[in-house]
Subunit: 244 residues, 2 copies
Amino acid sequence: MPLQRPKIRLFVEAVLDSETNLELDHDQCHYLLRVMRLGPGDEVALFNGRDGEWRAEVLESGRRACRLALRERLLAQPPAGDLGLLFAPLKRARLEIMVEKATELGVTRLQPVLTRYTAVRRLNLPRLAAHAREAAEQCGRLEVPALAEPMALDEVLAAWPVARPLYWCDERGGGRPAAAVFAAASSPADLLIGPEGGFAPDEAARLEALAAAVAVDLGPRLLRADTAGVVVLGLWQALNLAKK
Amino acid sequence: MPLQRPKIRLFVEAVLDSETNLELDHDQCHYLLRVMRLGPGDEVALFNGRDGEWRAEVLESGRRACRLALRERLLAQPPAGDLGLLFAPLKRARLEIMVEKATELGVTRLQPVLTRYTAVRRLNLPRLAAHAREAAEQCGRLEVPALAEPMALDEVLAAWPVARPLYWCDERGGGRPAAAVFAAASSPADLLIGPEGGFAPDEAARLEALAAAVAVDLGPRLLRADTAGVVVLGLWQALNLAKK
């Protein structure tokens, strides 16, 4: 019978093993004790991206501190995936939602890229990382996607590894249908969506000239960038699920 | 050479033909004249879900009024699709985003359904309808999805037409992979996603017993309801695009 996983899950940095007692930081204490109203004897699941998922029990809960004891490993750490999403920054609310959904959909690396028509140039990376962490806690993943510093698209493409496929959404309709392309694809790979204004002509030309880059088409309707990000990842995962 | 479509698009209720001059309502005047800063001689595209897309020219713009003259039909009205999304109401922000994205992804009917575990029971339908209309204007569609009054899931299932497929996302992993199922499916059809808490056991049993209902699986991660809605529609459309 599979072990019952506690519904409340927390990502922690600490090593997780049977010897561990750990002290949560202030924010996580607040969440467990005040928001979720847990107390001594209650259980949570912990994961750190390396040591699987563990059942932990609240030992003590003071005003500002919360100590947990690890009880048993519920799940082994699965092999790390390798699926990146490259995206131009968007306005805050849309970006946060896209990061949340990309995390639910199993992305392992989030790479902001600055393009010619990217209107938003500044990102609050710690805040975005917190969104990714919370989404991982909520959706049952055992790792949190890495969030990279923004890079210029030109630089990213100039250093692109020859052997790593880069599937880019060509909103001009230049590619083959994404479902047909992804049905024959597998990770490691990266998916690239442009900004709201699309790629500049020279950026599209550069992508077309890149041997590792494959244009894909998401259909006749103009999708917002955040919609395209969710759809392309959902499609990738659904087609990979169907192959099993 | 295809006709250039004005980027600013408005959904209107009026008949659109070459004889038409029309007066916009207060909100649309405000949007065109104050937000987008159009004036006499500027162009917009109009659609009403029946008569295709038309180029219109601003004739007069007073403080609170805006008169337009129709110039030419840019696109014929495409055949109406028939793809419904049945969803349990969510908190406002998530629901609005899901409606926006469902519209971009070509849904033609939005049917809120109340299930046992639906936490949100009240909906602001006019506001949701406005979100759908704005998303249609923005994504280039020529129709706005119909938004129905909420119904109890039990009632919806009791009256379900035998010949109309209902694909429901079974978060317990009970169905075949959605991509495999959808690859052999086509509209007319409906897609059903449950609330954040999933379907109650008796609801799942009722769906399993319904001849027209087909369970599909969206993968091992627990998707939020709004994520599932976007993914299932995006997948449906991408697989249909790949068939052409």
